[in-house]
Symmetry: C2
Subunit: 423 residues, 2 copies
């Protein structure tokens, strides 16, 4: 499952010790160094000798062919077919906190609805003073806002409940993305319709063939939810709900109804299929947890990781990963490289926004020996990410959803990395 | 030049007045409304009837086919060939502050260098204690940071010096993008090499066939410059310098050397071709302005605009645009809809970062009459964006570069928009 091209790569020279240039020869690129001739320096490379493609070549750009391995991946045996299925964001190959639109993981219940925006309508009905229907353009006449939020599938890391099963954070933790949305506050539209006093719940319904539906308490709907039509600056992608999706910050991904066509106001939850027989966790005694909306604080080391082994020798290295919480920000992440004997506070870098991914780094000198590495997130409410065993003690092992336990990687002396569990 | 598909569109019903649903018929979608049957509501749409594509269809996603008009565009008559040329970001179709990687404008001097990352090397030479050569992986072993910055070509709006010439902000203001970079602080690499006391200048050189070179004062190099390898989370795109580019926050785009291969430390500027015969402005008397690095505060209304006319009738509407400054943040943008008789403070929304794009909105009731619209940026240093005439008075009309004058649009009663100048 390792798709990293760097698996067996090594740095050609020592690091920090110098990589010093031997005289001016290598600088001009005309004379090879006697001790270690490096064609990458001594020869003029083709890209410096010939003109490249012009500005008319790609009206909409694509990644370098050398990055062809950086793609969303699905797992064939995971679902009966690829229509009602999932693929995973290659978080091991990304950095920072923004997920590029082409790499945002997908989860469909009836495949990608390809909606003609001219035929798009959004209806608000039920316990409202005025039932309303909006065109896409109608929505764009309301005041807009821009906010970045993570979207995590409730089933992210679900296969890890019973032990380390999949080798690669793309597969164990890649049902997440983080996008800057532009849209209208849901509250604005609901105020336009006039929610009646007994309207304490909202049903959001999708226009795809599965007519995905979820019940949302009115308090959340009036808080920070958005009706979004742009992601990272451009129109939503078809697989993310084009032309309009619901954004339910911090809550499980299936509530962020894509291809949003209807919002019904009611006085109680609907208990539809996707919030009862699906997306529900069972305790060990068979009782179901009810309303598990908020995503708990979680973190994952993305590099080194099984798909992104260490490809250099001992010395300075960067360990990095992502952390998030459905309840706020992440002021702190701890990292261990010795299986939890010593914990080090990681360096957070980049924007720290409510219910958004956070990037952490741990810069250290690797002595070249095997390591057991873990990360542990603390969120702004004081909550600390639990171990998997602590989770199992409370929830049993029937669950698929809401596994936010600490992940453990074993790093070998050759830099390869394996997903493991330690007692 | 109008490529908006909404040019002649109108909203089907009155807005805010209600768009009210006539009874339950339209809700079920089975019975047409007697007064105004809308097939988009009364008929079950194809995307709700058939399963769509699965999660294995697009490992790297692309926009909806309905967004095919949202692309970078070049202007054939502008340059002798498309190799040493430019294309433009469709800023009229975007929102928020992030530019998606596929839509970041391109400017090449020798076409797109297609570099094999395994053969990539970065050399630091000149007045340093240790001349160094880094592989791409070497660079990734230094501590990283994540920062969003705008990149604007010095020639952005250049054709407007002598009057309103191009009809569309994509063409007049689209040589700009705003990206979240991940990389190493340039200062970190220079400290590794050890800059000698007389090393007051830095030459940055590209690995493309034009070997693009620019001189940068050491003070700036040690301040906020970055050696970046990721943009908006993923690897740099080939046309943006893959695998490594220089980031020179707030300064003109040609200094952000792409395909960065060499950094030479010297004691004076090099006065190479691209900083003398090119990228230099002449005053009316023929004298040249020297070292025009910083980009002045500027703003542009992106909607409504010539390519994005108003496609609805009178009533509530959103006017929006972008503002930026090479010297800091944008705390305030003013908007006028009557050619400058009255100015209104716009609503800023989204992150306000140093040397990054800012998004502004002006939400108002349009009475349906013609408008003369303008925006005016104030930056955090107190600088206010000038009129074009104020600029011409100081600089004459020989310039191509650094036109940050206020842009004016005439909006007709039918919603169409034209680029104009007013006295």
């Amino acid at each position: 499952m390792t798709d990293s091209p760097h698996k067996n790569g090594t740095t050609r020279r020592g690091f920090l010790a110098g990589t010093a240039v031997a005289g001016a020869a290598a600088i001009t690129g005309t004379v090879a160094r006697a001790d270690a001739p490096d064609p990458a320096i001594t020869e003029v490379q083709p890209w410096a000798r010939y003109l490249g493609e012009g500005v008319d070549a790609r009206p909409y750009g694509t990644p370098s062919e050398h990055e062809a391995h950086v793609v969303r991946r699905n797992v064939e045996w995971l679902t009966a077919d690829p229509i009602s299925s999932v693929n995973f964001t290659p978080i091991h190959e990304l950095d920072g906190i923004i997920t590029p639109n082409g790499l945002c993981f997908e989860r469909h219940h009836g495949g990608i609805a390809e909606i003609d925006p001219a035929q798009y309508r959004l209806m608000i009905n039920g316990l409202v003073d005025r039932e309303l229907i909006f065109t896409l353009e109608d929505l764009m006449r309301f005041p807009r806002e821009n906010r970045a939020y993570f979207l995590e599938c409730a089933a992210n890391s679900g296969m890890e409940w019973r032990g380390a099963q999949l080798n690669g954070c793309q597969y164990t933790h890649g049902m997440i993305h983080n996008v800057m949305y532009t849209g209208v506050r849901l509250r604005t539209l609901l105020e336009e319709a006039g929610v009646q006093p007994e309207g304490e719940w909202l049903l959001a319904e999708g226009a795809d063939a599965s007519a995905m539906t979820r019940s949302i308490p009115m308090e959340k709907a009036l808080d920070d939810c958005m009706v979004a039509f742009k992601m990272n600056g451009e129109a939503l992608r078809p697989e993310q709900g084009y032309p309009v999706r619901l954004v339910v910050p911090g809550w499980e991904g299936n509530m962020w109804v894509k291809w949003l066509r209807r919002l019904e106001v009611g006085d109680q939850p609907w208990h539809h299929r996707e919030e009862t027989s699906k997306y529900t966790d069972l305790f060990a005694d068979g009782r179901a947890r009810r309303f598990t909306w908020e995503m708990d604080a979680k973190s994952i080391i993305t590099s080194p990781s099984p798909q992104k082994p260490i490809s250099h020798g001992p010395g300075p290295m960067v360990l990095t990963g992502l952390a998030w919480s459905g309840r706020g920000t992440i002021p702190r992440v701890d990292v261990t490289i010795d299986g939890g004997i010593n914990w080090h506070e990681a360096r957070m870098d980049g924007p720290s926004w409510d219910k958004s991914l956070h990037r952490f780094y741990y810069d250290f000198e690797w002595d070249g020996s095997p390591m057991i590495i873990q990360s542990r997130a603390h969120d702004s409410t004081g909550y600390v990410q639990p171990t998997k065993d602590e989770l199992r003690e409370v929830r049993g092992e029937n669950s698929i959803y809401h596994n936010n336990g600490i992940q453990t990687y074993a790093v070998a002396a050759d830099g390869s990395v394996e997903n493991v569990e330690i007692a």
